[in-house]
Amino acid sequence: MPYISLNRVSYIYSGRSMPAVKDITLTFEKGEKIALTGTNGSGKSTIARLMLGLLKPQAGTVTLANRPIGDYSLVEIGERLGYVLQNPTQMLFTTTVYDEIAFGLRWKGVRGSELDKVCKNILKHFALWPLRNKMPLTLSEGQKQLVAICAVLALKPAYLILDEPTKSIDTFRKDILLNALQDIGHKGTGIIIISHDQEFTHRLCNREIKVFDGKVATDGSRC
């Protein structure tokens, strides 16, 4: 049983004449590590937003754990799928880096010393601890991206969907990120990485889906 599935999904943005995604069928099993690649504007981010139920397809269906994605609330989707946007600025909304990590955990009911421990661990792991009292929106692009990733990682979703996660991250922290992803991947978390960073995806993913012009060009496993 696939965990996430897109069945003959098409999506057209309002005011556009050409669909961004055309009749796409894809299935994702639990725990898969997938690279979603393709040229700029080929529809990768749109596919991600469709999988997350953030866009409603004009044709086709999207299901998550065998239920239509439309049956879930955003909160319920967030509990299962961790999504880091291509533009991390849009998903940073707290006053400090520390709070950014703590926000979701607090809503999950994590409190006190337990909360502090989780936040401290992840921030120290990614060498972001010195920035804990800074406002996320004032950080550099790469730092913002890492904070956004950490905020989602801390919630331990079943699947991670990262849209161009390595875009502006330095090599040192990229290695840390790779190790962290390999680690949670081994523990069974599914990972979808939208990226052109072949070196990064090759070391993590065993399936590559190439998108071209809104359609799946190739979908294959790779060792």
């Binding site: 005011g15 997350l52 609330s73 707290t94 809503w107």
Partner: protein, 251 residues
């Protein structure tokens, strides 16, 4: 029909002014009925109306608020001896919403125009460039901003904050928490935009030449003449209809 931007500007201005001047629901209704074929004639992308669906509740609240404060007519809803809602109230509430729709429709005529041509037209009409630019910014920047804010609100909920939750106090706390960063983010974007503007030679408009050109053709003059005549007929009709409907109370 492919009309000059200035002609479209003229038509949009007429509808906006009439919608603001008149308050009578019948006259506003008539104006709305006239606006629809005009929009079709100008090939206005009515699909954009759909973008305003999220404002539906705002309309509803507008109707309710308007309705509550207008007395007169038969009571529709009352608590004890207090008339909460009257027929007159409801009609005026509807009038406010019709006015809103007319203004949005008139705005859509301009949204559909090529922005560069619109700017050119306005500056040829000697409207200061800063004002022209602000209008352009409103048309183009605000929808983007709304899009980005809604992405942020999606992210907030996907991080576990159930904003539709019954515990209103907790939701209020979330809004309080995210308020400063949200405003900060908007200001940050505005600042980036202003830097970009400087880099691209903002305020150099009088010295700038334009790749695009605009020209009034015969049909533009015909349409403007017809629109003017129709407007007079409309105002005359409204006066005949009575009810203190002379624009600016010229009586």
């Amino acid at each position: 029909m492919d009309l000059d931007v200035r002609t479209k500007l003229f038509i949009a201005a007429i509808f906006s002014v009439l919608a603001i001047v008149y308050q009578d629901p019948v006259i506003l209704g008539a104006l709305l009925v006239i606006l629809l074929p005009v929009l079709a004639f100008l090939k206005t992308p009515l699909g954009k109306f759909y973008d305003f669906r999220k404002l539906f509740y705002l309309y509803l609240i507008l109707i309710i608020i308007q309705s509550l404060f207008v007395r007169g007519g038969a009571p529709l809803l009352k608590i004890g001896t207090i008339h909460l809602l009257t027929t007159d109230g409801l009609i005026y509430g509807l009038a406010v919403v019709m006015r809103f729709i007319i203004l949005v429709g008139a705005g859509l005529i301009l949204v559909a125009c090529d922005t560069a041509k619109l700017l050119l037209a306005m500056s040829k009409m000697k409207i200061p460039y800063e004002i022209v630019f602000m209008i352009q910014l409103g048309i183009r920047f605000i929808p983007t901003l709304i899009g980005e804010l809604s992405a942020t609100f999606d992210a907030i909920q996907m991080r576990g904050a159930d904003l539709r939750r019954v515990y209103k106090r907790k939701v209020f706390k979330v809004y309080l928490e995210i308020f400063t960063p949200l405003v900060f983010g908007i200001l940050q974007k505005a600042e980036q935009l202003s830097i970009l503007l400087e880099l691209r030679g903002f305020r150099r408009y009088p010295e700038r030449t334009s790749y695009k050109t605009i020209a009034m053709k015969k049909r533009d003059y015909i349409v403007i003449a017809l629109t003017s005549a129709a407007t007079m007929v409309f105002i005359f009709g409204a006066i005949l209809y009575g009810k203190e409907q002379i624009p600016f109370n010229l009586r």
